[in-house]
């Protein structure tokens, strides 16, 4: 029992020096009063900082000032009695759809970052498939100005690889990087043309920043709405074969290797995809990958009779062997991080027949609870590994990884692992309710989130006592 589980960290990918600014300089946040907090008696767990003990953590002016067995409350600090709870580094989500501009009826920067804060996230990256898309620095700058006023947690904005996400011409990637794009992606759509993909990878030498890829060969997914298998065969729904994803990963890994470029593969869904990433890593390709809580937790069986479009997402839920492969990939580091692919849609876009419904599900508010309930509680993965993967989404994009260590900015998630709650029962912070876990009772609830030194979320039922003058 004394033996601590061995935790293999994902191999760090060597950053490419970008022109001009660093990725971290692209983060936007409305900020707030720097927190002065004494979090007392929580079980502090941060595998990167090698902390795994019941400790007091003192935050002064937004910075972690002291971590010790017992800290005397200083003047002016709020005291959080956290005995029985767990304190983790704040989570990082490299894959969020904030839907601004153009789809504010689904989500906006304010509501989306509020959902992130409630989910324990201290840093998220917004996707660029908006309307207009983020394919020029004007759109990017206006988003950053908006986020500087509205964002409850720091947000990095991605920019498109191709103009209008049309897959035909490169955007002004160097200009966009200088304007603060943290990565490049046409997420929502693949870059189907291998020639354009190659040029984007070549151009990375100038623009820097990783290229994040939604992998799907449109010739193979053509009209597909769910995993191609027994369930789609029975329902008569057009299938998305796993080869539509894995062949593109293999293609782009070869291209990235040839051009000595860096790629990040988004939302892996199948065992073939895990194998393709593992093979690329083996060959020394600069490649990182993510998986979502819904792909780690559910299979295509959840689609059931096909009348609930909250189980429709892209890539689709696949089979149990695929799910197991994703879990193994997460365990052995083939998959670097957990990312939600939080994709809000309005009720009228989901309350329609499956084939007509929009693809995607929300996930920020349930990410930790689902992974904890379905992977940690049953003993599939150790808690420390899950915490590492929930915070590992920063490194592939050259963003700062939160660390529970003295001198670091306070990025913290205080979680009550004993708490049980029913998803959606009290509504959502997100503007949209298309959560595939709605109605499920889960364990583990975020009580408090500190992002970049600011207390950005506290659960309503959780009291903080103020002491001192």
């Amino acid at each position: 029992m004394n033996e601590k589980p061995k935790l293999r960290l994902a191999e760090p990918v060597a950053p490419t020096p970008p022109v001009g600014t660093s990725a971290a300089e692209g983060l936007s946040f409305r900020g707030g009063r720097p927190a002065d907090l004494l979090i007392r008696g929580a079980h502090v767990l941060d595998p990167r900082a090698d902390v795994d003990a019941v400790l007091d953590v003192l935050v002064r002016s937004g910075e972690i000032a002291e971590i010790a067995a017992s800290i005397q409350p200083p003047d002016g600090a709020e005291i959080v009695e956290a005995s029985g709870k767990h304190l983790f580094p704040g989570f990082v989500d490299p894959h969020v759809h904030l839907r601004t501009p153009g789809f504010e009826y689904k989500e906006d920067i304010e509501s989306g970052t509020r959902a992130a804060a409630a989910g324990g996230f201290c840093l998220i990256v917004a996707m660029a498939n908006t309307n207009p898309p983020v394919d020029n620095s004007g759109v990017l700058q206006s988003l950053r100005m908006r986020a500087a006023v509205e964002a409850h947690v720091p947000v990095g904005f991605s920019a498109n690889v191709t103009k209008g996400m049309a897959g035909a011409e490169l955007t002004e990637m160097a200009d966009l990087a200088e304007a603060g794009a943290v990565c490049f992606t046409d997420d929502g759509l693949p870059i189907a043309d291998a020639g354009i993909m190659r040029q984007a990878l070549q151009y990375q030498r100038l623009a820097g920043r990783v290229i994040a890829l939604h992998q799907e060969d449109p010739a193979l997914t053509k009209g597909g709405v769910m995993h191609e298998g027994a369930v789609s065969a029975a329902l008569g729904l057009a299938g998305v074969p796993p080869v539509s994803e894995s062949t593109m990963i293999a293609r782009d890994a070869l291209l990235a290797h040839y051009e000595d470029a860096r790629i990040h593969v988004q939302h892996l869904s199948s065992s073939q995809s895990v194998e393709a990433v593992a093979a690329a890593k083996q060959r020394g390709v600069k490649i990182s990958a993510e998986a979502s809580p819904h792909h780690l937790s559910l299979t295509d069986a959840a689609v059931g009779d096909g009348t609930n479009a909250n189980f429709k997402m892209n890539p689709p839920l696949r089979t149990e062997p695929d799910r197991q492969a994703l879990i193994e990939g997460l365990r052995d580091g083939t998959i670097d991080c957990i990312a939600t692919d939080h994709a809000p849609h309005a009720a009228h876009e989901k309350e329609v027949p499956f084939e007509q419904a929009a693809m995607g599900v929300t996930g920020l508010e349930t990410s930790f609870s689902i992974v904890y309930s379905d992977l940690v509680v049953p003993g599939v993965l150790p808690l420390a590994l899950v915490i590492e993967r929930m915070t590992a989404g920063a490194a592939p994009l050259d963003l700062p990884t939160p660390l529970v260590a003295v001198g670091e900015p306070a990025n913290l998630a205080l979680v009550d692992l004993e708490a049980r709650w029913t998803v959606g029962e009290e509504g959502y912070e997100s503007r949209s309710a298309n959560c595939c876990f709605a109605g499920r009772e889960v364990g583990g609830r975020v009580q408090l989130t500190v992002a970049s030194g600011v207390l950005v979320y506290r659960a309503r039922s959780f009291a903080i006592q103020e002491v001192g003058a």
Binding site: G229, A230, A234, L237, G239, D305, G306, E351, V352, F354
Partner: protein
């Protein structure tokens, strides 16, 4: 049974009960006055989001034979065809207080969604490529009248299985009734893992000469455009059922409408082995049985049930 959404929801016993009910209704339908008072004063809405001649007329006639009032709503081509307003349409029509809504939709699962927005019984008249349960029931009914019990009988379903709701419902219904089902067609038109429905797969007609029944599906022109098949000529050469491929003791079925010269040669359509017109005639009786099972004796106060069971007892009499 509250709704009829798919054969997937039915047990063998439920299927047999429906077929037995159809048998008893068939006897009555030979009278000069074919009308039964079972559903007098009740309303049935036929909501068709797709063009259909035989299915919609068959449902309409079945409802009228049971003395229901029918409202036929055809939404194809109108704004209603868009899924966004499915809910609004159903809620509007529900205001008429229908006992049942019959739904035909180009989209999988639409009838199941309709059940959430109405208190009426919902009958699936075909949803996308998913199911067409009344077609499978009328096919099973037609076959049972010819062959008796279907246990151990072998049925080949030939053609575009991928895009066929008739195929899916028939695989389920026939296997539940004990038949062995083999689906046969070009590999591009046989969905991966279709075996999970309980059928076997063959890419050629080899062995079909041992089948009791050849159930041939309609081959649509657009499949050639989508490159599922290189040409109708090659398709016909490999899969068309003609006089040489139809045995004297084999039965031939087709859900209609037939493309003569493509999936069937003209001579076999009217051959003595062909059950195609019997299938159409069975449609009305089986749909009456479905209405009867879903509606008689429930929903409306008291008298409907007594009257109904008195007029049309099941074959065993006591089951009502």
């Amino acid at each position: 049974m509250r709704h009829l959404l798919g054969i997937c929801d039915l047990s063998r016993e439920q299927i047999e009960r429906l077929l037995d009910r159809a048998d008893s209704l068939a006897q009555l339908s030979e009278r000069e006055n074919k009308k039964l008072p079972t559903l007098t004063g009740r309303t049935i809405v036929n909501l068709f989001f797709e063009n259909s001649t035989r299915t919609s007329s068959s449902f309409d006639l079945a409802a009228k034979r049971l003395s229901a009032d029918t409202v036929n709503v055809r939404a194809s081509g109108s704004s209603v065809e868009k899924g966004e307003s499915l809910r609004d349409t159903v809620q509007t029509l529900s205001a008429y207080g229908p006992a049942a809504i019959v739904v035909r939709s180009p989209f999988v699962g639409a009838p199941g969604m309709v059940t959430r927005w109405t208190s009426a019984a919902v009958i699936n008249a075909g949803d996308g490529k998913h199911e067409h349960p009344t077609q499978a029931l009328l096919d099973a009914y037609t076959l049972r009248r010819r062959l008796g019990e279907l246990d151990g009988k072998s049925v080949w379903i030939i053609g575009d299985v991928m895009h066929s709701r008739v195929a899916r419902s028939n695989i389920l219904a026939l296997t539940k009734l004990g038949a062995r089902v083999i689906v046969c067609g070009p590999p591009t038109l046989i969905p991966r893992e279709i075996e999970s429905l309980g059928c076997e797969v063959s890419f050629t007609l080899d062995g079909s000469e041992r089948a009791d029944v050849l159930y041939v599906l309609r081959m649509q022109n657009e499949r050639m455009r989508d490159t599922f098949i290189p040409s109708l000529r090659e398709y016909a050469a490999r899969y068309q059922i003609n006089g040489d491929r139809l045995g004297a003791k084999q039965l031939l079925m087709h859900p209609g409408p037939v493309n003569r010269g493509i999936e069937l040669s003209p001579d076999v359509v009217d051959a003595p082995q062909s059950l195609i017109t019997e299938q159409v005639a069975s449609g009305v009786i089986v749909r009456m049985a479905v209405f009867y099972e879903l509606l008689a004796g429930r929903g409306e106060p008291g008298s409907a049930r007594k009257r109904a069971t008195a007029v049309a007892p099941t074959r065993e009499g006591a089951r009502g």
